[in-house]
């Protein structure tokens, strides 16, 4: 495992896009924090959460989380995009081990980057706000967890679809278009049978992790019957685990 982890760590560090994506995530979040903090002198709990977590549950998906997921997609998708899967597998031939190393390295990177990012965001609010936002708030913990899960599902999708473009499409179109559409359609009276399904939309459920009130999508959680923070987190985590399992199973079975 040590060799596979060292391989993945050098792979990640010798890719310019890693620095661009992580740098953009950090800068963007600090910009959001500065903006929110400078505009709201007396912040509510929602506003504090939005400043610290790069927009929180208000955006369709927190931007930094998407950028970290792209780091994940590149970890596996690049291997096929550039044919490096051959030298990679002739260096680390145990596919399950290689995939585990990718997931671990990307997941840990996402964890560290998000923690650093949140700290920077808190620092950015300090000149404006009297009270320093807490780093141990449950929303912050949920946000870090969300970022790790997105990064990991990025690795899994890149591996499952064996490439970058397909994984990116799934990663962006599913939460922002497909799930939004199902969510809105469930309000059409003729389609109200969709209501029970809405709580199982994986990315919508995942977003509950960063909801300051424990519910996302404009406080409609009780109306559409979403699970609470940790119930929804479980839905998303089960989804991520399923994609991981499919990815590693097919990776071991198929031709490289």
């Amino acid at each position: 495992m040590g060799d596979a982890l060292r391989f993945e760590w050098v792979r990640l560090r010798t890719l310019r896009s890693t620095y661009w994506l992580i740098g953009s995530a950090l800068v963007l979040n600090v910009a959001i924090a500065l903006l929110v903090a400078s505009l709201a002198a007396d912040p509510t709990v929602d506003v504090v959460a939005a400043a610290v977590t790069g927009g929180g549950a208000n955006a369709p998906v927190p931007m930094a989380v998407v950028l970290l997921a792209v780091v994940g997609v590149f970890a596996s998708g690049h291997e096929y995009r550039y044919g490096t899967i051959q030298p990679t597998l002739t260096t680390v031939p145990l596919r399950g081990l290689l995939f585990a190393a990718k997931v671990l390295v990307v997941g840990l990177t996402a964890l560290v980057v998000t923690v650093v990012s949140v700290s920077l965001n808190v620092a950015a609010t300090m000149p404006f706000w009297a009270d320093t936002p807490s780093l141990t708030d449950v929303t912050v913990i949920g946000y870090v967890l969300l970022a790790v899960l997105w990064a990991v599902v990025g690795v899994a999708l890149g591996q499952l679809l064996r490439g970058v473009p397909g994984a990116l499409v799934v990663l962006l179109v599913t939460p922002m278009i497909v799930e939004q559409l199902v969510f809105r359609l469930s309000y059409v009276p003729a389609l109200d049978w969709l209501h029970p399904a809405v709580r199982f939309l994986p990315f919508t459920a995942g977003l509950q992790l960063v909801s300051a009130a424990g519910e996302a999508s404009g406080g409609l959680a009780s109306e559409v019957g979403l699970f609470g923070r940790w119930g929804s987190a479980t839905v998303f985590a089960v989804f991520v685990a399923a994609v991981l399992a499919a990815a590693v199973t097919l990776f071991r079975r198929r031709d490289a």
Binding site: D3, V10, P87, V92
Partner: protein, 303 residues
């Protein structure tokens, strides 16, 4: 020593590799020869556990997947451009070294050895095919392996580069390493290989020495010129297994009989000969004969 037994791979109904068994011995360069589409790359991918198929390949008695640090035992390059376009050549090798417990100093060593040390810190997207091949060879040599498996390593090299590659591979083999190199060009194998494994349409055609391949698949022909060509042709056609083709210059090309037999037939029939020349087919011709009906894509002349 590589021992491949009953390798097989099919894509749906199409058989790409059909029950191939062969061995590659250390201390010499073994050429893996066959026309494009004969299944050479698929065979190499099967050997390295990259593709899932039938059969088993043992490297000094062990399967590829059971090796702790495969790079330190088997150096393999299957594609010329298997690197990220913006990761420098040096970083590409550093990454592979990190996964194999190989020190970074070895990276600079192999880059120096293959002659691309001056571009080691440049992005490889601008590399010519020849430079990419050299980076590939550096990758294969990174772990100082006892076995090399290279798919078309001479492709894209200029004549100078091909001679350099030949010298490198021969030197590596002379150190007791096992070297298995594929090519679709017999001229390259003539330069590099001691032994051949020849395949066509996924099937074994020949395994053994290069000159043995020529002997087995070459039919020597004899060119004859005579003022009484038609009388001689009639006399020769009466012999078993002899074919006679008139040439454009008015001579006869005879297959299935050697110069001695033809001279005797001419003497017995009172035919005067002006020329009697034995032509031995080149390695190139032997290759065409051996793989002719096993070639995947045969050009058909119309009209």
């Amino acid at each position: 020593m590589i021992l491949a037994t009953h390798l097989g791979k099919r894509y749906g109904a199409k058989v790409a590799v059909d029950d191939l068994s062969f061995e590659v011995r250390p201390g010499m360069v073994t050429g893996f020869l066959g026309p494009n589409g004969a299944g050479k790359s698929t065979t190499m991918r099967l050997m390295l556990d990259l593709d899932r198929g039938a059969g088993e390949t043992l490297f000094d008695g062990r399967r590829f997947g059971t090796l702790r640090h495969p790079m330190r035992e088997i150096g393999a390059v299957l594609e010329a451009r298997a690197f990220h376009p913006t990761r420098t050549a040096r970083n590409h090798l550093r990454m592979l070294a990190a996964g194999s417990g190989i020190p970074v100093s070895r990276v600079d060593e192999v880059l120096e050895f293959v002659g691309i040390a001056d571009v080691a810190r440049r992005k490889p997207k601008g590399f010519s095919l020849g430079m990419a091949q050299r980076l590939g060879l550096a990758q294969a040599l990174l772990g100082d392996p006892g076995t090399l498996i290279l798919d078309e390593p001479a492709n894209g090299l200029d004549p100078h580069g091909i001679h350099w590659l030949r010298d490198v591979l021969r030197a590596l083999a002379a150190e007791g390493r096992t070297v298995f190199v594929s090519s679709h060009l017999l001229s390259e194998m003539e330069l590099m290989a001691d032994e051949l494994v020849v395949v066509g349409r996924g099937r074994m055609i020949y395994q053994g020495k290069v000159d043995g391949f020529v002997r087995e698949f070459t039919r020597s022909t004899v060119l004859v010129r005579s003022p009484q060509a038609s009388a001689l042709a009639d006399a020769l056609r009466r012999l078993d297994g002899v074919s006679v083709e008139p040439t454009e210059a008015g001579g006869l090309r005879i297959a299935g009989a050697d110069a001695v037999a033809i001279g005797d037939v001419a003497f017995d029939n009172g035919v005067r000969l002006h020329e009697l020349t034995t032509t031995t087919a080149s390695l190139e011709a032997a290759f065409m004969t051996a793989t002719g009906d096993a070639s995947e894509y045969v050009a058909v002349a119309h009209g």
